[in-house]
Amino acid sequence: MLDIRGLRKVYDGHGRQVEALRNITFQVDGGEFVCVVGPSGCGKTTLLRLIGGLLRPTGGEVAVAGKTVAGPPDGLAVVFQEYGRSLFPWLKVHENVELPLKAKGMARKDREPLVRNAIEAVGLADARTAWPWQLSGGMQQRVAIARALAFQPSVLLMDEPFAAVDAQTRADLEDLVRSVWHQFGVTLLFVTHDIDEAVYLGQRVVVLSASPTTVIEDLAIDLPDDRDQLNTRADARFVELRGHVYSRIQQAKRNAPVA
């Protein structure tokens, strides 16, 4: 479903070249839940923007469902980190969720059930007609997730979506993402700097090095599919996997040239 081959991105500005991504290659199958984790500043957001067609690569290519990405691809939705800035403050919750469907040219009677369904799936049925700025950060991010779900993407990208919410909200949202992934059968690529979160959520974890970035490991997470905050995080296998990813990232940081 997602095919990333030899992806390279060099930023060129003010006479200084910065190689954000050196060589990224990995695949994501249809319906898979893959987390990408790496040290901060390793170009995770750059990677996600390249996959989302919001940036052009310097080298290599991204293909979504077999088609090379040259602009925002069909059937791909993005949930951004800055929930407060990705919702339209002048549209109510349900209008925010509905807008991309309007852009698709979908008829009102087809839009309505999708919007209702998506808002219910993220547990915001009571806040349908609220303004985004009346909601807490966690609820705003739920709206952004509902908008992405209503869009019925085949691929959903999430860029550190829970980096700015408190720990308890974050745990709730993690479980929400697992549940909507099951419910909607979407292919999910989740970018985070949080190792625990990556191991807890994903079926696979792609570990990135420090910048200039390459893939240092593509790790299958062989935890049972039924996960919960208490038992999964206490599971010996979870602790082992987390420790493994942690040591790989530490190692990558040590080997990185001093910036």
Binding site: R85, F88, P89, A103, W131, W133
Partner: protein, 259 residues
């Protein structure tokens, strides 16, 4: 209820005091240029309520509405074009600064030559003054659209008219409203000035006629009419603003709110 009462009292307090001051200080005036307020109010009904509403006030207001409306449409349209293009901005900035610096009243003689002395000239004078604050504020507003929201539009393929309506114009609406408010007071001034030369009806014309005919209380009553029109239009503007910018005030209040 008490809040409404409080606001009404605050709104009216100073005007009432000023009118009373005027009333008592002018009561014994024998200066022909400054007749007692009682005399001015006395001539008010027979001066204005006997046909002048349709003959002078309504034509003036109609020209103001048309001129202001044209300036609003043209200012916002050009502002969106210029604000959205770095090339256009660089190209047009010096010209705009030059044109903006020309006081619209000096255009009256020129516009009389070009457009004659009828309504067209007067409307053009109003447009030529009202358009600048709207245009320049729109340019600023369109330039300052949020990047994350822009990315959201791109990634959900919200484009064309839908993007213009729900993203560009709404993002810029606080600035557009600021420009429109400035333009409204400029418009009222120009409505009067455009009628002081080469006119046969209108508020400005009537006031000048009274002055030339030594009908001084009538002249003052015309000034009162203008003041009332200004207050009513400002109140109407505030009503519209409150509807259009309800989200903006909400966001501001949410940002100020308890942390």
């Amino acid at each position: 209820m008490i809040a409404v009462l409080r606001r009404t009292v605050l709104f009216l307090a100073l005007p009432v005091v000023l009118v009373m001051l005027w009333w008592f200080t002018s009561a014994d005036s024998i200066d022909y240029a400054r007749p007692p307020l009682a005399t001015i109010i006395d001539v008010f009904p027979k001066t204005w309520l006997t046909g002048r509403i349709t003959k002078d006030i309504l034509p003036s207001l109609a020209r103001l509405a048309i001129g202001y409306g044209l300036a609003l449409v043209a200012g916002v349209a050009l502002g969106v074009l210029i604000g959205g293009s770095r090339l256009l901005r660089a190209l047009l900035e010096p010209v705009l600064e030059f044109l903006r610096a020309i006081p619209p009243p000096v255009l009256v003689p020129i516009l009389i030559l070009i457009a004659g002395i009828d309504n067209t000239m007067k409307i053009l004078v109003i447009v030529s003054g009202c358009i600048w604050p709207i245009l320049l504020n729109t340019v600023e507003g369109v330039r300052a659209t949020d990047e994350v929201l822009g990315d959201t539009c791109r990634s959900y393929r919200i484009g064309g008219l839908l993007r213009l309506r729900t993203f560009v114009l709404r993002s810029a609406s606080p600035q557009i409203v600021t420009g429109a408010r400035q333009a409204l007071s400029i418009g009222i001034i120009l409505m009067v000035i455009s009628e002081m030369k080469a006119a046969s009806e209108g508020l400005g014309f009537t006031i000048v006629q009274f002055q030339r005919g030594f009908q001084i209380p009538e002249m003052w009553s015309g000034v009162l009419v203008l003041g009332i029109i200004g207050v009513v239009l400002a109140l109407l503007f505030r009503l519209v603003e409150r509807r259009v910018l309800v989200w903006y005030h909400g966001v501001r209040a949410a940002e100020r709110g308890p942390q």
